[in-house]
C-alpha cells in the first residue's frame, strides 16, 4: 500500500483528496457529497490503522519521523517535521475514528449548505491530525491555529440561535492564548536556535532560566483549549450553539489538543517549571472537576449539562497529568480517549433527541424509554460509561488517575485525589438525574408518544463507540501498552527535573 508517500503525510493530508472531490460536486447533490466525505474519512481511518500496524509498541521514542527543512530564516530553519509516539498515535486514531462517525451523524441533521459543511469538516480533520503529529513548534502552531478556522465556520454558519456570538468567542479566546504561545515559541527559537522538538529537548538548558514564563505562555494556550477553570467560559457557549457534529468533534478531539499540548511541550520542555506549577495546576483541575459537576447539576438543558460535564471530566485528565506519576499520566491519556468516546456519544444522543423534538429542555421529555427502548438502552450504557461504572471505559481512566494522584510525590497530599473523588459521585448524580428526567417515569408530553426509535443509520453511528466503551472497560491492556512506554519516558524525564528542584 506504500505509494511512495510517507504514512504520516498520508494520514494527515488524505482528507484533502475528499475536499478536492467535493469541491467539484454541485452543491445540490447532497447525497453524493455526504458519501464522498464519509468514504474519505473511512479511508483515512484505514490509513490510521495502517500507521498503527507500522508502529513499534516497544519503542518509547518518536517513530516514523519525517523531517525536511521547510523555510530558512536568518539564524533558524523551520522544519516540516512529523512524527509520533504512543500518545499521539492514540489521539490520531481517535480523530480518524470519530470523524466518520460524526459525518454519519449529520446525514439528516445537516440539510443546508451540506457542501460547505463537509468541506470544513475535512479541513478540520487535517488540522487536528496535524496538531497531534507536528514536532516542529512553528508547524504545530500553524496546525493549531488553523483548526480554528473550520471550527469557527462550523459553529458560526450551522450553529444555533446565538451562533455568531459563540463562534467569535471561540475564535478570540483561543487566539488570545495562542498569541502568547507564539511569542514563547519565537523566544525559544531565538535562544535555542531551533524549533524542532527533539533539538529543544536536548538543549532545554538554554532557555531554562525563563522556563516558568514559557510554561505559563504555553500553558495559557493549552489551558484555554482544555479548558481549565477559570478559562472555560467559552466552552458552554460553543457547545450549546455548535451543531451536533461540531460539539462531538469539539469535545471528542479539539479539547484533547490542549491536554496533548501539556504532555508534548510543557512537561518535557519545561520540567522544573512543571514540577513547581503542578500543585497549582492540580488545584485548578480539582476546582474544575467540582465546579463543572456542580454547574452541570443545575442545568435544565441536556446539552448544557453535557457541556459542563466536559469541564468536569477534563479536570480529571489535568489532575492525572499534573500528578506527574506513571499512573496519573497514563490514566490521563486514556481518560482523554474515554472522554472523547463517552462525551462524543452523549452529544450524538442529545443531537438525536433534538432532531426529533427540536428542544433540549429536560422538562420537555420524560418516559422516553417506553417510546424508544433501543435508544434508551444505548443511552444508559453511554451514561454509565461517562459516570465511571466499573466494567466500562470511564472507570478505568478515572480510577488510574485517582491512584496516580494519591501516590503522587509532587502533589504530596491525598486532598486533591480525595476531593476529585467527590466529583465522581457528583457525576453519578447529575447524569442519573438527567437520565431519569428524560427516559424514566410516565410519558408526560403528548408529542413524545409518537417519537420514532433509532434508525439503522443512527444505530450504526453509535455502535462503534459502544464497542470501544466495552473494550476499554473490560480489556484496557492494549491501550495501556500503547501509552505506557512514552509515558514512562516522560515521567522519568520529569522526575529527574523534580530531583533537581528539591
Amino acid at each position: 500500500m506504500n505509494l511512495g508517500i510517507h504514512p504520516l503525510v498520508l494520514v494527515t493530508f488524505f482528507p484533502l483528496v475528499g475536499f478536492l472531490a467535493i469541491l467539484f460536486i454541485p452543491g445540490q447533490r447532497k447525497t453524493a457529497i455526504r458519501w464522498t466525505a464519509l468514504v474519505t474519512s473511512l479511508l483515512n481511518f484505514a490509513i490510521s490503522l495502517w500507521v498503527l500496524a507500522k508502529f513499534d509498541r516497544a519503542d518509547a521514542g518518536i517513530q516514523l519521523a519525517l523531517r525536511t527543512p521547510w523555510l530558512r530564516l536568518p539564524g533558524i530553519t523551520i522544519d516540516f517535521f512529523l512524527g509520533l509516539d504512543g500518545m499521539s498515535l492514540l489521539l490520531v486514531l481517535l480523530t480518524a475514528f470519530l470523524t466518520p462517525v460524526t459525518i454519519l451523524s449529520t446525514w439528516s441533521a445537516v440539510e443546508e449548505k451540506v457542501k460547505g459543511f463537509m468541506l470544513f469538516f475535512l479541513l478540520l480533520e487535517v488540522g487536528m491530525t496535524g496538531v497531534f503529529l507536528a514536532l516542529d513548534l512553528v508547524l504545530f502552531y500553524i496546525f493549531w491555529e488553523f483548526t480554528l478556522i473550520p471550527m469557527y465556520f462550523l459553529i458560526g454558519v450551522w450553529g444555533g440561535e446565538r451562533r455568531i456570538y459563540a463562534a467569535v468567542k471561540v475564535f478570540l479566546f483561543t487566539m488570545f492564548g495562542s498569541l502568547l504561545m507564539l511569542l514563547a515559541i519565537l523566544y525559544i527559537g531565538f535562544t535555542a536556535g531551533s524549533f524542532a522538538w527533539q533539538d529543544l529537548l536536548a538543549s532545554r538548558e538554554l532557555f531554562a532560566s525563563m522556563q516558568l514564563w514559557l510554561f505559563l505562555a504555553f500553558g495559557l494556550a493549552f489551558a484555554i483549549k482544555v479548558p481549565m477553570f477559570p478559562l472555560h467560559t467559552w466552552l458552554p457557549d460553543a457547545h450549546v450553539e455548535a451543531p451536533t457534529a461540531g460539539s462531538v468533534i469539539l469535545a471528542g478531539v479539539l479539547l484533547k489538543m490542549g491536554a496533548y499540548g501539556f504532555l508534548r511541550f510543557n512537561l518535557p520542555l519545561f520540567p522544573q517549571a512543571a514540577v513547581q506549577a503542578a500543585p497549582w495546576m492540580a488545584m485548578l483541575a480539582v476546582i474544575g472537576i467540582l465546579y463543572g459537576a456542580a454547574v452541570a447539576l443545575a442545568q435544565k438543558d441536556v446539552k448544557k449539562l453535557v457541556a459542563y460535564s466536559s469541564v468536569s471530566h477534563l479536570g480529571f485528565v489535568m489532575l492525572g497529568i499534573f500528578a506527574l506519576t506513571m499512573q496519573g499520566i497514563s490514566g490521563g491519556v486514556l481518560q482523554m480517549i474515554n472522554h472523547g468516546l463517552s462525551t462524543g456519544a452523549l452529544f450524538l444522543i442529545v443531537g438525536m433527541l433534538y432532531e426529533r423534538r427540536h428542544t433540549r429542555e429536560m422538562s420537555a421529555f420524560g418516559g422516553i424509554w417506553k417510546v424508544m427502548p433501543v435508544f434508551a438502552a444505548l443511552t444508559l450504557i453511554v451514561t454509565l460509561s461517562s459516570m465511571g461504572l466499573p466494567g466500562l471505559n470511564g472507570f478505568i481512566g478515572e480510577f488510574t488517575i485517582l491512584l496516580g494522584a494519591f501516590s503522587s510525590p509532587v502533589l504530596n497530599t491525598p486532598w486533591f485525589a480525595g476531593l476529585a473523588t467527590a466529583g465522581v459521585i457528583l457525576a453519578a448524580v447529575y447524569l442519573l438525574v438527567m437520565f431519569e428526567k428524560v427516559f424514566l417515569g410516565p410519558v408526560k408530553v403528548e408529542a413524545n408518544r409518537l417519537l420514532k426509535d433509532l434508525s439503522a443509520r443512527e444505530i450504526i453511528t453509535l455502535l462503534p463507540i459502544l464497542i470501544l466503551i466495552f473494550w476499554i472497560g473490560l480489556y484496557p491492556q492494549p491501550f495501556f501498552e500503547l501509552i505506557n512506554p512514552s509515558v514512562e519516558r516522560l515521567v522519568a524525564l520529569v522526575q529527574n527535573a523534580a530531583m533537581a528542584v528539591h
Binding site: 521547510w70 523555510l71 530558512r72 530564516l73 536568518p74 539564524g75 449548505k113 512553528v138 502552531y141 500553524i142 496546525f143 491555529e145 488553523f146 480554528l148 478556522i149 469557527y152 465556520f153 458560526g156 454558519v157 451562533r163 455568531i164 463562534a167 467569535v168 475564535f171 478570540l172 487566539m175 488570545f176 498569541l179 502568547l180 507564539l182 511569542l183 519565537l186 523566544y187 527559537g189 531565538f190
Partner: protein
C-alpha cells in the same frame, strides 16, 4: 551621463517618458475607447517591469553618487510596478461605470510610480525630495479624480494640505541636516557623522523631522489623521493603490536614508520609534473596531499594519539585526500588498454608484451568493489578521521574530495583543458575509475577479511554499557604503 548611469534609471526613464507620451496620445483617443489608454499604460508598466527584472543582481552607485541601484531598489520597484498593473486592472471597469473614465488616471498613476521608483533609488536628500514630490502630486490629483463628488474633492484637499505639510517637514529636516553636515549626499552625511564633524543637535533635529515627514506618508500614529478621510473619499482603486504602493514607498525611503546615513542615531531614536510603532498598532486597530464603512475600516487597518512594520524598524541600527529588519519589512510589504489589493478588489466589486455598497451591512449574504468572492475576502481578512496558511501569517511571524531577536519582546507583545483586537473587526466582515443573510449586488468584471481570486490563491499558495519569496526578500539588501 555614462552608460551605467543611464542603465541604472532606465526603467524610470521609460516609465516617465511613456507617461508623457501617453498624455499626448490620449488626446486623440476617443472618449468611448479609453480602454486603449488603459492597455497602453499597462504596456508601459510591463516594459518597465521587464527592464527592472533585468536589473536584478546588479548593484551600482551612479550619477556621481546621486542614484543607487541595488537589490533593495529592484525588489521595491517590482512592488511599485506590479501595484501599478493591479491599480490599472482595478480602475479599468470602475472608472467606466462611475462615469469618470479619463485617460489622466493612467498617466498620473505612471508619474506617481516613477516618483516611487526614484525615491527608492535616491542616494541624495535633494533627489529624495524631488522624487517625493513627483510621487505625491499626481496622487493629489488622483484623490480628487471623482470630482465633482464632494467627498473626493475633500479627500484631495486634505491629502494635498497634509501632504504639503509633511513635505515641508522633510524639507526642513533636509535643511537642518545640510546645516549640520554641509552635504546632502547620503555617504557624505555618514562620513560627517562618523568623523564627528556633524553638529549633533541640528543633525538629530533634522533626522527627527524627516521621521515625522515620512511618518505622514506611511500613516503612522500620530501622523495618520488624513488616511481614513482620504481613503474614504478617493476613488476605491486609488485608495487601494495608496494603501499599498505609497506605504511601500514611504518605508523604502525610510529604510534607505536611516540605514545608510543615520545608523548611529538608532539607539537614540529607538525609544521614539518604539512608541510610534506601539501607538500605531494600538490606535489603528482600536479605531478600526468602530468603523462601519469598509473603506474606513481598511484605512485604519492599513494604519495598524504600518505599525507592525515599524516594529521591525526599531532595531535597524544594530549590525546583526539590520539585515533581518529589511528582509522582514520588505517581505511583509509583499504579504500585505497582495492581501490588501485583493481586499480592495472585493470592495471595488461591491461598490455602487453614489457611494453605495460600502458599508459592512452591504456585505451580508455575500458568501452564499458569490462563494468564490466570499472565500477570497475571507482569505484576505484572515491574512490581515495573521492566521496560519495565509501569507499574512508568515509576514507577521517574520516581523515578530525580528523584534524578539533584537530584544524587543515587549513591543512584540503589543503587536500580538493588537492582532487579537484586529481579529475582532476582520471577523466581523466574515460574519457579515457568511453568517448573516442579505442580497448583495456585485459587479462582475473579469479584471476584478482576476485580481481578487489571483491574490487569494497567491496568499494561500505562497504560504505553503514561501521559500522563494523569503529568499527574494533576503536578497533585497540595501547596499551600504
Amino acid at each position: 551621463m555614462t552608460q551605467a548611469d543611464f542603465y541604472s534609471i532606465l526603467p524610470i526613464i521609460v516609465l516617465a517618458g511613456w507617461a508623457l507620451l501617453l498624455l499626448a496620445v490620449d488626446l486623440w483617443i476617443p472618449k468611448e475607447r479609453k480602454s486603449l489608454t488603459a492597455l497602453l499604460a499597462a504596456v508601459g508598466l510591463a516594459v518597465s517591469l521587464g527592464l527592472t527584472l533585468a536589473q536584478g543582481g546588479t548593484s551600482a552607485l551612479t550619477f556621481g553618487g546621486l542614484i543607487m541601484l541595488d537589490g533593495f531598489a529592484v525588489y521595491l520597484n517590482v512592488i511599485f510596478l506590479v501595484s501599478g498593473l493591479i491599480a490599472v486592472a482595478l480602475g479599468y471597469d470602475y472608472l467606466k461605470r462611475m462615469g469618470m473614465e479619463r485617460g489622466e488616471y493612467y498617466v498620473m498613476m505612471l508619474f506617481s510610480i516613477s516618483g516611487m521608483m526614484l525615491i527608492t533609488q535616491a542616494y541624495n536628500l535633494l533627489v529624495v525630495f524631488l522624487a517625493l514630490e513627483t510621487l505625491s502630486i499626481p496622487l493629489y490629483v488622483l484623490a480628487g479624480f471623482a470630482h465633482p463628488k464632494l467627498e473626493s474633492q475633500e479627500a484631495a484637499l486634505k491629502y494635498f494640505l497634509l501632504g504639503a505639510f509633511s513635505s515641508a517637514f522633510v524639507l526642513y529636516g533636509i535643511a537642518l541636516i545640510f546645516g549640520a553636515t554641509a552635504t546632502v549626499g547620503l555617504d557624505g552625511i555618514l562620513a560627517a557623522l562618523q568623523g564627528g564633524t556633524a553638529n549633533p543637535v541640528l543633525f538629530s533635529a533634522g533626522a527627527a523631522l524627516m521621521l515625522v515627514g515620512f511618518g505622514f506618508k506611511v500613516a503612522a500614529v500620530p501622523f495618520h489623521k488624513w488616511a481614513p478621510d482620504v481613503y474614504q473619499g478617493s476613488p476605491s482603486p486609488v485608495s487601494g493603490f495608496m494603501s499599498v504602493a505609497v506605504k511601500a514607498a514611504g518605508f523604502a525611503v525610510l529604510l534607505r536614508i536611516f540605514l545608510t546615513a543615520f545608523p548611529g542615531l538608532a539607539a537614540s531614536l529607538a525609544p521614539a520609534v518604539w512608541v510610534i510603532a506601539a501607538l500605531t498598532m494600538i490606535v489603528g486597530n482600536v479605531m478600526a473596531i468602530i468603523q462601519s464603512n469598509i473603506k474606513r475600516l481598511l484605512a485604519y487597518s492599513s494604519i495598524a499594519h504600518a505599525g507592525y512594520m515599524l516594529m521591525a524598524f526599531v532595531p535597524y541600527g544594530s549590525e546583526q539585526n539590520a539585515g533581518q529588519s529589511v528582509a522582514a519589512m520588505v517581505f511583509y510589504l509583499i504579504a500585505y500588498g497582495l492581501t490588501t489589493f485583493g481586499a480592495w478588489a472585493v470592495v471595488v466589486s461591491l461598490e455602487q454608484a453614489e457611494g453605495k455598497g460600502l458599508t459592512l451591512d452591504d456585505y451580508a449574504g455575500l458568501g452564499p451568493k458569490y462563494p468564490w468572492l466570499g472565500v477570497a475576502m475571507t482569505v484576505f481578512m484572515l491574512s490581515l489578521t495573521g492566521v496560519p496558511l495565509t501569507l499574512g501569517f508568515w509576514g507577521k511571524f517574520y516581523l515578530f521574530k525580528t523584534a524578539v531577536d533584537a530584544g524587543y519582546a515587549g513591543l512584540a507583545l503589543v503587536g500580538l495583543i493588537t492582532s487579537l483586537v484586529s481579529a475582532y473587526y476582520y471577523l466581523r466582515v466574515v460574519v457579515m458575509m457568511f453568517m448573516r443573510s442579505g442580497d448583495p449586488r456585485v459587479r462582475r468584471d473579469g479584471w476584478l475577479s482576476l485580481v481578487a481570486l489571483g491574490a487569494a490563491l497567491a496568499v494561500v499558495a505562497l504560504s505553503v511554499v514561501p521559500g522563494r519569496l523569503l529568499e527574494a526578500a533576503a536578497n533585497a539588501v540595501l547596499r551600504l557604503q
